[in-house]
Symmetry: C3
């Protein structure tokens, strides 16, 4: 359901580090927001050195933008953003001062995956069950 978009200057993260970070973001999101990992997408934008600026100067931040469904309990969202930010530095070695994590949200019914409108937070289990009974993604 979610998409995490990680933006850096090219060659900031090795292919191995990108795979590790994708794995960690997936593990954390899955655990905290009760979503199977098969529904967690992570993409990387690797930009030219003169395409990324902080304070109006060329810079090398790690920018992580996530999208989640509106309505998760506030404590859950706070835990999510904290663990994502901690994982970013732990996995990549990029110091926290160069890492920005932003979570955006919109209503679950504004999103469709596998041909089905996403469930509101808290209704994941019934939704997943229904998908299996109905023969999966075609329904």
């Amino acid at each position: 359901m979610p998409v995490y978009t990680c933006t850096t200057v090219k060659a900031t993260l090795s292919a191995e580090t990108r795979a590790s970070l994708a794995g960690e973001l997936t593990r954390i999101h899955s655990m905290i927001n009760h979503v199977p990992g098969t529904y967690v997408n992570v993409v990387f934008h690797e930009l030219a050195a003169d395409d990324v600026y902080t304070d109006g100067q060329p810079a090398q931040p790690l920018l992580i933008n996530g999208w989640v469904r509106t309505g998760h309990p506030e404590a859950q969202s706070s835990q999510l953003v904290a663990e994502i930010a901690a994982a970013a530095t732990r996995v990549t070695g990029i110091p926290a001062k160069r890492v920005l994590v932003v979570i955006q949200n919109s209503p679950a019914h504004f999103a469709i995956e596998g041909g089905r409108v996403l469930p509101a937070p808290g209704e994941e289990e019934a939704w997943l069950q229904q998908g299996q009974e109905g023969g999966g993604n075609a329904h």
Copy 2:
């Protein structure tokens, strides 16, 4: 007014398919949200194979992120997301289980196009009329 951002691994969609999908997203959005096609933007991000992950593994999803103005009637938004998702599979042949459509929104007055603040949903006609009377985009 809207922007649709389609993200895939490189070479997933041919240039012809990208043009067809852009045309369909424009047609659908224009019809459902009452916006002339000239205000519908569609962009494609084609990423390296090791820049896209689902479930922590390299994958080939089609991720479509749309932005719309806050305040469209709920039934209209539901129809929009359903038709966008259906078109994605119809045009590209990518099965629904690999397609994720997410619509995000913010207030119309947080956006400017052609030099003018966007109208709230339902006020498009007056806004378009006013633009023509005023000499168009310069106003």
Copy 3:
């Protein structure tokens, strides 16, 4: 705290123009939203000619998407989007009719920078002060 993402067809903006636009967006955001320039990020996506469509046809718009914290006074947000749009045309020479600026928002506590949850609008000064007293980004 904010991220501005500018999307164009490749070679629309020279490296010099991108740097100037990044500088202007940083100056404007910093001034209006009371955020030090060191917290303003600007990135550019330069896409292939057949990856960008308006009205279903290949096109050369300048699309600027910004993220800000929810809760700024409405007049402040209106001023922000107006000045960003004016700067886009002033710096790049791209006519207003091809420029779309969209500001999106989510709660400040959905974002972490420098290892710390962002302050709500209006609480920047105390947050910045606290960061210095606490030894900076590690806290």
